[in-house]
């Protein structure tokens, strides 16, 4: 697929199918270096496409450790502490319920 090059006042972007690369500029774009910038971005697109192919070729990591899975979904402990500080029993109960829901979602293997 042909690479598409977009040049605006503060951005140079190269789009190559599914991947793209860009440079943002916070000072005037150096006109004499535009070709070099475009070449750099085209090369970055080549790297990205190769990397994308590599990512797709490897099956996703499947995590089975229930403790690890739970750890990512437990509500923040600060929610519980905040409820205690405020004396908000409803917030404390909500925290406990959320924890129980996570445990139920990822049960401990028998």
């Amino acid at each position: 697929m042909t690479q598409q090059v977009n040049i605006t006042a503060n951005r140079i972007e190269v789009i190559d199918g599914e991947v793209s690369a860009h440079l943002d500029f916070y000072q005037p774009i150096s006109e004499e270096k535009v070709d070099a910038y475009v070449a750099e971005l085209k090369q970055e697109c080549v790297y990205k496409k190769a990397h994308l192919e590599q990512l797709r070729s490897v099956p996703s990591l499947v995590v089975t450790d229930y403790k690890l899975l739970r750890s990512f979904e437990y509500p923040p402990m600060t929610d519980y502490i905040d409820g205690v500080v405020k004396g908000d029993q409803a917030q404390i109960d909500a925290y406990i319920a959320a924890c129980q829901a996570v445990k139920a979602k990822y049960p401990k293997p028998e």
Binding site: E18, A21, H22, L23, D24, F25, Y26, Q27, K33, A36, K48, H51, L52, L55, R56, S60, L61, V63, L68, L69, S71, F72, Y74, P76
Partner: protein
């Protein structure tokens, strides 16, 4: 003819034996030394071993300046002899390897320690705040080196649940204003936010601004997906083209 007449004929009127009296012979050395050889070629065998030393080359000087063609053996170049002054362009600008064209000149740790952690989960559409940073493009960042271009990028250890939905982004807002905000885009994990990977973001050319920044987590695309950041580092680079 008698021998006396023959001899007298050869000697001539002066009675002496001269070079001219010996027909068919070249000049005859009178002292027997090499200085008598005014023309002709001296066979190499007539030059003694080690006879030609530096003193015989005092005016011509057998040094590198006499080498107008050919290749100088590298062993003839002294250590440290080739300095930057020998290059019209500084040596570090002449290197073409991409691995030395970019030099990280400052690393600003912004979030996390890189370990696998139960970090906060963000979602593409909530642009939550993940850090507040004093002068991310100023403090500790050295002046741009001669001939270089200053750039900034993010190095992050993160995870996200996006495949083709979009890419995780970190947005630096000057004093939390969306005006002139700087967006660094990473690459989707093609997995889930429960796992982790690392990546370098796009680069921003120049120094955006000197304000303090609030950093938001967002994402490209329109579909929602979850993200976790275990480590975020802002890097200042000097890049030579």
């Amino acid at each position: 003819m008698s021998r006396a007449r023959t001899l007298a004929s050869i000697l001539g009127s002066d009675g002496a034996l001269n070079v001219a009296d010996l027909a068919g012979l070249a000049a005859v050395a009178s002292s027997g030394s090499a200085s008598d050889l005014s023309t002709g070629t001296l066979p190499i065998a007539r030059i003694g071993a080690n006879a030609i030393d530096n003193s015989k080359l005092a005016t011509t000087g057998l040094d590198a300046s006499k080498l107008t063609t050919g290749t100088l053996d590298v062993a003839r170049i002294a250590d440290g002899a080739i300095a930057d002054t020998k290059f019209t362009t500084a040596l570090n600008q002449r290197l073409t390897s991409p691995f030395v064209k970019k030099q990280v000149v400052n690393r600003r740790m912004i979030l996390g320690c890189g370990l696998y952690s139960n970090s906060t989960e963000y979602f593409r559409n909530d642009t939550s705040t993940c850090a507040s940073v004093y002068g991310p493009f100023g403090y500790g960042v050295p002046a741009v080196q001669t001939g270089a271009e200053r750039r900034f990028r993010i190095y992050a250890v993160y995870g996200d649940g996006s495949t083709s939905q979009g890419d995780p982004q970190l947005i630096f807002r000057p004093n939390d204003s969306t005006t002139n905000q700087v967006t660094f885009t990473l690459q989707s994990t093609w997995g889930s936010s429960a796992n982790q990977r690392d990546w370098y973001s796009n680069e921003v050319v120049g120094t955006p601004w000197g304000d303090h920044a609030v950093v938001h987590v967002s994402g490209s695309g329109t579909a929602n997906y979850a993200m976790r950041f275990h480590y975020v580092e802002l890097q200042a680079l000097d890049v030579w083209s």
